[in-house]
Symmetry: C2
Amino acid sequence: MDYSFSNRIAALQPSIIREILKATSGQNVIPFSAGNPAPETFPIEAIRTFTQSILEHDPVTALQYGITEGYAPLRQALTTHLNTGFNTGQESDELFIVSGAQQGIELACKVFCNEGDTIICESPSFIGSLNTFRAAGAKLVGVPMETDGMDIEKLEHALQTEQNVKLIYVIPSFQNPTGITTSEEKRKAIYDLAKKYGVMILEDNPYGELRFKGQDVPTIKSMDDEGLIIYVGSFSKILSAGLRVGYVLAPYEVVQKMVVAKQGEDVHTAMLPQILAYKFMAEYDYDSHIDSIRTIYHRKSALMIEQLNQHMGDRITFTQPEGGLFLWCDLPHQVPMLEYAKTAAAQGVAVVPGTAFLVDESEPCNAIRLNFSTPSDEQIVKGIQILGQVLDSYK
Amino acid sequence: MDYSFSNRIAALQPSIIREILKATSGQNVIPFSAGNPAPETFPIEAIRTFTQSILEHDPVTALQYGITEGYAPLRQALTTHLNTGFNTGQESDELFIVSGAQQGIELACKVFCNEGDTIICESPSFIGSLNTFRAAGAKLVGVPMETDGMDIEKLEHALQTEQNVKLIYVIPSFQNPTGITTSEEKRKAIYDLAKKYGVMILEDNPYGELRFKGQDVPTIKSMDDEGLIIYVGSFSKILSAGLRVGYVLAPYEVVQKMVVAKQGEDVHTAMLPQILAYKFMAEYDYDSHIDSIRTIYHRKSALMIEQLNQHMGDRITFTQPEGGLFLWCDLPHQVPMLEYAKTAAAQGVAVVPGTAFLVDESEPCNAIRLNFSTPSDEQIVKGIQILGQVLDSYK
């Protein structure tokens, strides 16, 4: 059989990161390439207790079909959490549950974009989202990242010149892959431009609570007095990635459409994980848990930065993130980045070539993304040492 | 903000069934409208034990990111199960895990259909799938159901006359909504036509193991010597609907594309539910469990049929399913079906108007769908009595 795939799908390639993750999983590779939360951040004992309690007291709710919008107590707890903790969410907004933030991003695209419509993205940006947009047949337009967020002039230029712009996609806090946090000033500027040009903002904030340095910056959604923003959050980095529970806060009318689209994808998010997420919010010391994750990632990022300074500090530049899981490391211009990444992999250290995150992968890029949440402290020390040795070979 | 939704989404309506389910959930309504498995079929005690064991011995696998294709031991167990139990699956096929069968159906559509391409469906058919196809912008062409499956002549006519037919969608065993099982002869005829016209078959088999009467009929996939069939199965009716675990068996090349599309939707299916499904297959008395479900549904369907005969047998006709969850009930032609369903709902009995399942909802239809898995025995007796009384009012 000679298969005739749909136009949008025929050209797609598997995500480089997920392919690397597959290739390196379960082996003795030092995983600077992943985006996994540190396993020691999973509240395993609490999850055991909560699961036992759920299956003891209300097993049928956990095992039976639920409604597409999600488990009502979890929706309520999240709505309150965003309102009181982050001043985020208006009367006219609604919150529903998705099977990981990725689904929220995909649904936003499905609901707003016809094939050929334009999505403006930070460049570099999260490859999973970029591939989702590509799979929907959207045209991606990248706006370069500066140290405090998107280049606002270039964003306005794109809004002025591009046809059928439907979404501006931003990861404002501790961005994947760069670790950059968009300043409050730029957040306001992005919001004002969205308002001026009548374009929706897709605000992806999976790492928002994982600040371990500096001052909190308001979400863009907290500025949303016109119903322009679809805000997507996740339990993947604060409870468990494998449970696949995320959420979307957006204007009611938008949520109605996204829920219908979700019905057609997976009917609803798995119930047991949703109830677990609810108990985690309602019955656990949520704030202490978040604090403990911050402490772990602060230590790991500081260790990675210290090692980078020690072994390569004179030759490379890198972001110093105030939270999240990643830092972005620019190699000296004479080092061929792809070859460097391959050599490092051959020596047992997996990093992701920066090109993977570009809107246009053929643009020049001499950076690699380093993840500090997945490797152990020992792996960080050993891995950066090896990366330094590989760099030495290009002297 | 005046939202400009994508063309495909702008026209979509929420599923009637899911709206009814929402409206009637948690109330004193007798639920002949749902498609929920009977809660007494959930192996709750085993799920408790397995969950405890998973979170004791391998919590990190259950809580960390997994690969998009799914949990390897589960994929292997299912591949073996389909091979040895159902002679289904070739060397050239591959199996991967989805977040419920609905996702498998949606991915098949996404991978093969451009907007405007045609999908041939049984009519009536499962509303969830029809809405998924509609949300993808596909053109639906219905082929009427006969007592032993699709009208083969009309199927061939559709294949001859319709443009860009990409999929033939069939639920060959205990179809939702009719309860009809497609005969072996017709399965062969459908397969031969798919081969002749070079069209893929999407075989949706969520109820396949729930036969409580008559003889097993081979899956269409078991006849697939040309790589034409995407076979979708589910744990929803045999383990738990709320865990959202299903699977797809299809030619390797097709699976590669579906997996890339799944990456962009939810990255992977929740891990804890996948490992639970694996343990259910590997460590539980699977066959006895299936037998016990069959016994329950045999009893419930027989009770519903007995009550229908007693209260309305002289005035209505209905299918006598050999398995599954549903029967299809034709009202006398002078009874206005939609009004009948509304009156029944007002009297506390929820049924689904047959029109909801038609490819063209404006076609004449005087049938309702009755589900016998969700209501208790007492509810079946009381509910059918009420349905009979409502019918009396049209004498």
